[in-house]
């Protein structure tokens, strides 16, 4: 095989830290049994953040309303369990499909305009769905939410697993879906399709000039990301047993954006690192000072942005000058 062919394939090769990360995630189920509820929530948020990364980090579409898909998936899964059948896997598949369809339908909103208009229309879509869920109380339970969603046991080739109070089954379930989502996302971003998303993010004019249909690619990316965010929402509804208006709330969209800011965009794993850091910080700070945790989280974000993620998480760069560190960071594809 020529150097060129080898180089072309090298980008898709597994790196040690990717395997370590996925291995560590799997290990956490065994190592931290008493933290399953928190870890379950982190896994769900991580999947949500990975789906936003496909839109933001790869296709370059800023969204302040990604909760639209998260919430849609959550309500879809909860209603499906309540009114159709309680099987979690079928419910998850249903939620993914309808959320992807919502992504497909709403993708017309993000095709034109500037970043600012996209921020507004995505925000608007999430707000509309929030109000719909609020008003259609015969279907959604309104402000009370959908309570008492009872899930059937998880039927797998390895046996039947009841959802337990400690969240052991829930965390295993969310973790498997997260890892599956990352694996699919990984194939996607290393494929020609993934390269075309990066291309149109970098330069739409040139992307068109090599024969790419920018609109078709964006529609596809938004549909896939919608489905993945819907999966995350479905996991939340299924593992907590209810869906409330909170899943459509603005803070969901803002939090997931913050997670990506913390973890970094455009390399697929930023959502996982970001969700982990965000949730742990939130947990630690709010245990220490329940009233003022927003202040400390805000301070952390300001420091992160001013200092730069690279320098913050890599002590070897703390005392080096920024301009000297920047090219090295761009040239190597190291984790943040």
């Amino acid at each position: 095989m020529s150097d060129v062919a080898a180089s072309l394939r090298a980008a898709a090769r597994w790196r040690w830290w990717e395997l370590a990360l996925l291995g560590g995630l799997a290990l956490s189920w065994f190592a931290l049994p008493s933290h399953s509820l928190l870890l379950n929530e982190i896994a769900i948020l991580a999947l949500f953040a990975v789906s936003l990364d496909l839109v933001l980090g790869y296709a370059g579409i800023v969204s302040l309303g990604h909760a639209a898909f998260f919430g849609f998936g959550a309500y879809a899964a909860a209603l499906f369990a309540k009114d159709v059948m309680p099987d979690p896997l079928v419910g998850l598949a249903f939620a993914i499909v309808v959320s992807a369809l919502l992504g497909l339908a709403s993708s017309v909103l993000i095709l034109r305009g500037t970043d600012l208009t996209r921020l507004m229309v995505t925000l608007g879509l999430a707000s509309i769905l929030y109000e719909l869920a609020n008003k259609l109380d015969w279907l959604t339970g309104g402000a009370d939410g959908l309570q008492g969603v009872v899930m059937a046991p998880l039927v797998t080739p390895f046996g039947r697993f009841e959802f337990d109070m400690a969240g052991r089954t829930a965390y295993a379930y969310s973790l498997v879906v997260l890892i599956a989502g990352v694996l699919v996302g990984r194939r996607l971003v290393h494929s020609p399709f993934g390269a075309s998303l990066k291309a149109l993010r970098d330069n739409r004019l040139r992307a068109t000039s090599i024969g790419l249909s920018v609109h078709a690619r964006l529609v596809a990316a938004y549909t896939i990301a919608g489905g993945m965010a819907g999966a995350a929402g479905a996991l939340l509804a299924q593992t907590t047993g209810f869906a409330s208006l909170d899943v459509f709330d603005f803070h969901r969209s803002a939090d997931v954006l913050l997670m990506l800011v913390i973890g970094g965009t455009g390399y697929l794993y930023g959502g996982i690192f970001g969700a982990l850091a965000f949730k742990l910080l939130q947990d630690l700070i709010s245990a220490w000072t329940p009233q003022y945790w927003h202040f400390w989280l805000g301070l952390f974000l300001v420091v992160l942005v001013l200092v730069g993620r690279d320098r913050l998480v890599r002590p070897d760069r703390w005392w080096r000058h920024r301009t000297a560190a920047a090219p090295a960071a761009a040239a190597t594809e190291a984790p943040p």
């Binding site: 020609p192 990066k198 330069n203 040139r206």
Partner: protein, 250 residues
Amino acid sequence: MSVVLETRGLVKRFGGIAATNDVSLQVQKGARHALIGPNGAGKTTLINLLTGVLEPSAGTVELDGEDITRLAAHRRVRRGLVRTFQINQLFGGLTPLQSLALAVAVQQGSSTGWWQPLGRDARVAPRCEQLLKTFRLLDVMDQAVALLPYGKRRLLEIATALACQPRVLLLDEPVAGVPEGERQEIFETLGALPADVSVLLIEHDMDLVFNFASRVTVLVNGAIFAEGDVQAIAGDPRVKAVYLGEREHA
């Protein structure tokens, strides 16, 4: 010879100004056709109309006798109408190799694949290698495009267009900003294009134009001022007055 690219009465108005004014141009199959004119003559606007970046106010564009005036820009590329840009338009976050591989994959119809990695299609790598070699980009093929020196990016700009397997290639000042010594080399590469590829070239350097092109169209104030073969245009006193003369004094 047959006509591959033709415009009829093409007009583009920006407000009260006609940047392109009733241009009827024919590019023959296999032509080495140059488009010259003073700054602001509407050369780039014409290229933008041909490629579908801009929509004309009036008139038609035909490729192989088919009306493509309303055809989306990316579809024109797939029909073989490819351009380069006066100001580099590249994918800063990709490497030169990935940029070319993507363009080749689009051209070969495998760019919608979303499961197999980019390099999986066995037809992609050899074509990329050939282009990287031709444009002396092999040594930087794995660096981020945004970090490449200008000269290399200029070469990649042209290589990306060739990766699309053009049948009609529109070159918008391909050697803009390239040092004197390297210009000839780029033109040698362009000269080595297959004879059935038609080239429409915008260029300021008259020596390069007269070496490369066999036919020349002079554009002034958006309209065709003169057209003919190289010798005729080079000897035309009117053209000298509006364009060549200016440059000789400069």
